[in-house]
């Protein structure tokens, strides 16, 4: 009850009305700092090539993170995205099998795979009342076992024409980035201009209140999980196009499950749901890509990158918790 009261009275600017500008400000600062550091060391940070690389690096994680944002905003969690990425990448390349006439079919198969995994997640969580972490972790194990038992190597291949998605560019902007921008625009419309978005925030804010005010919480939860599965599948399609073929390890190797959740919370979305902005997630994905590119420039140890990433994530979330505390309840 106090949570609801706090939502309505004490903090009017909350939830969907919270702005994502702090994330973008930090992104600008990080970008500026990287520019100075790299150029100070005799490099050149702002080249078309490097900017393209940063953008491309963000595409795969960005697509997954958008889906994850929807799920987290609805108060849920998806641990299965990494293997959804693998499974849809394999679906793409196996169905296409190097034949240009099967490109549409391959993409459709991948999206169907993603939607099916998302549907399973949503039904187990909302229909059977299982904790989201456990449900999606279980589904992830099932998919992982099935994938590793069936494929032990790179499977299938994509036609040369399909690799445009991974490598082509339109007017200097890589095609993958256009794909990401399109998905962001669609998700932004859905979350901030359509009724569905209100429902997602309501369900994430307080499931019981949302149900009592007439929202079909089951439908909303299943829908966000299906959308998350489809986003992960798009990422799988992109990776298949970039790598030329799908493999069981493409998703887990990228660590998309934990990385996407980290990107979401780094972007200011509360893990409990109902608070945060979609664009914050995109800002944090870009931020991670900029940091990565600096590490790459100095050819730094990738383990150092892991370490720094861990510190950044925990530190950022601690700052958010501070900020959120001020107007909220005393320590619990």
């Amino acid at each position: 009850m106090t949570a609801v009261a706090g939502l309505l009275i004490r903090r009017p600017r909350i939830g969907r009305h919270q702005s994502s500008w702090p994330v973008w400000l930090v992104l600008a600062l990080v970008f500026g700092a990287s520019w100075i550091v790299v150029n100070g060391a005799g490099g050149d940070f702002v080249t078309t090539r490097n900017l393209q690389n940063i953008a491309l690096r963000s595409v795969a994680l960005g697509l997954v993170a958008i889906g994850q944002t929807l799920v987290v905003l609805a108060g849920s969690l998806d641990m299965s995205v990494a293997y959804t990425v693998s499974m849809s990448a394999i679906a793409t390349s196996v169905v296409m099998d190097g034949r240009p006439d099967r490109m549409v079919l391959g993409v459709a198969a991948a999206l169907a795979v993603g939607a099916a995994v998302g549907l399973t997640n949503g039904l187990v969580i909302a229909g059977l009342g299982v904790n989201a972490f456990i449900a999606t972790f279980g589904v992830s194990l099932i998919v992982r076992g099935a994938l590793n038992a069936t494929f032990d190597n790179v499977a299938g291949s994509v036609p040369a024409g399909f690799q445009t998605l991974g490598y082509g560019a339109v007017g200097g902007i890589p095609v993958g980035v256009l794909l990401l921008a399109g998905v962001v625009a669609a998700a932004w419309y859905l979350m901030h201009r359509a009724r569905f978005g209100y429902h997602v925030y309501a369900v994430g804010g307080n499931l019981e209140s949302a149900r009592l005010s007439g929202i079909s919480t089951l439908r909303v939860l299943v829908a966000v999980h299906v959308l998350c599965g489809v986003c992960a599948a798009l990422s799988g399609v992109f990776l298949a196009s970039r790598l030329g073929a799908g493999s069981p390890w493409v998703g887990p190797q990228g660590g998309y499950d934990l990385e996407s959740i980290a990107a979401v919370v780094l972007g200011g979305v509360a893990l409990g749901g109902g608070r945060g902005r979609l664009l914050g997630t995109i800002g944090s994905v870009l931020m991670l890509a900029v940091v990565d590119s600096v590490f790459n420039h100095f050819e730094a140890n990738s383990f150092l990158r892991t370490l720094v990433r861990g510190v950044i994530i925990v530190g950022a979330v601690a700052l958010y918790a501070r900020r959120g505390d001020r107007a909220q309840q005393p320590p619990s």
Binding site: V124, L128, G129, V130, N131, F133, I134, A135, F137, G138, V139, S140, L141, I142, V143, R144, G145, A146, L147, N148, A149, L258, I261, A262, V265, L271, G272, N301, F303, L304, R305, T306, L307, V308, R309, G310, V311, I313, V314, V317, A318, A321, R322, D325, Q329, P331, S332
Partner: protein, 341 residues
Amino acid sequence: MTTVARRRPRAPRSPRGAFRSAVRSATRAVRGIAPIWLILAAAVALVVWRDPAFAEPHSLMAFLKRGAPLIILALGQLFVIVAGDLDLSVGALVTACVVIAARLGAGDPARTWWVICLLVAFGLLVGVVNGLVTAVLRVPSFITTLGTMLVLNGAVFLWTGGSPTGSLADNLRRLGRGSIPDVPVVGQLPYAVIAAALAVAVGYLLLRRTHFGSQIFATGGGPRTAWLSGVDTVRIRVGTFVVSALSGVAAAVLLAGFAGLSANAGDGYEFQAISAVVFGGAVLGGGRGRISAAVGGALTLLVLFTLLNLLGFAKPLRDTVQGFMIIGAAVFTAYRLRRPR
């Protein structure tokens, strides 16, 4: 409990009534057993059916020895889960401890006890940091321990340059590998099994027989209620993370014994421990969970792996079965909680 006892039917008069009441009390007794034990019994029966040698004391002891780290980790994880949190960092902690023990011990038996003291101190530090960041800075434990996992993985590999060096001293390895010879009935009694039994006893006493234990349940059941009724929830949550981290150190010492030095010694253990606890009917979100059921969950997981091995399933299918099991267990627990009593 007293109300239940009072409602028990009076002593039956006729022999038929006696039979009926015996059946009724038997069903009640079966219902009282956590379902995980029935599943475990069925799985063990299947394993013994496929491979009768499994039931022999020495192979049973070998099985328990291999299972000891998971049992200990599941117990530690149970504390954190009952308090309403989650500890994803134990796997990385196990790896870190094994690597540190090899690097600093350098195979010298004289250093072993210092190394163990150092590992315990390291575990304490990790647990306290996890707990303070979660409870004081109010970062969700999922994120805190994910961060700890990344930091530990990164730091250890940065320190060792990717491939761990040094070696594990013989007397350190004996803790995990060795056993007391010539014990009646079981033949050899591995130290690891003794350690697991000790951990179960300590865990039970701590969770069920101390104020700390009851306050963990209170914190997990409702942090605000617990806080208002005078429980220092910060201290309790830090305490549970310390218990979990120490269980990680204990598991690492055992694993160093029989698995040896490797850069992925603890890989996946955090998720296996969480699975074991969930099998045992604990609820993520806190307030529910039992020591015995967590041990049962860990044993079931291990027996199932053995069973799949015996049945000739490909190793990856272990994951699939674990996935179905974990969802099944969670669905069952959710159903039982929703059902009116």
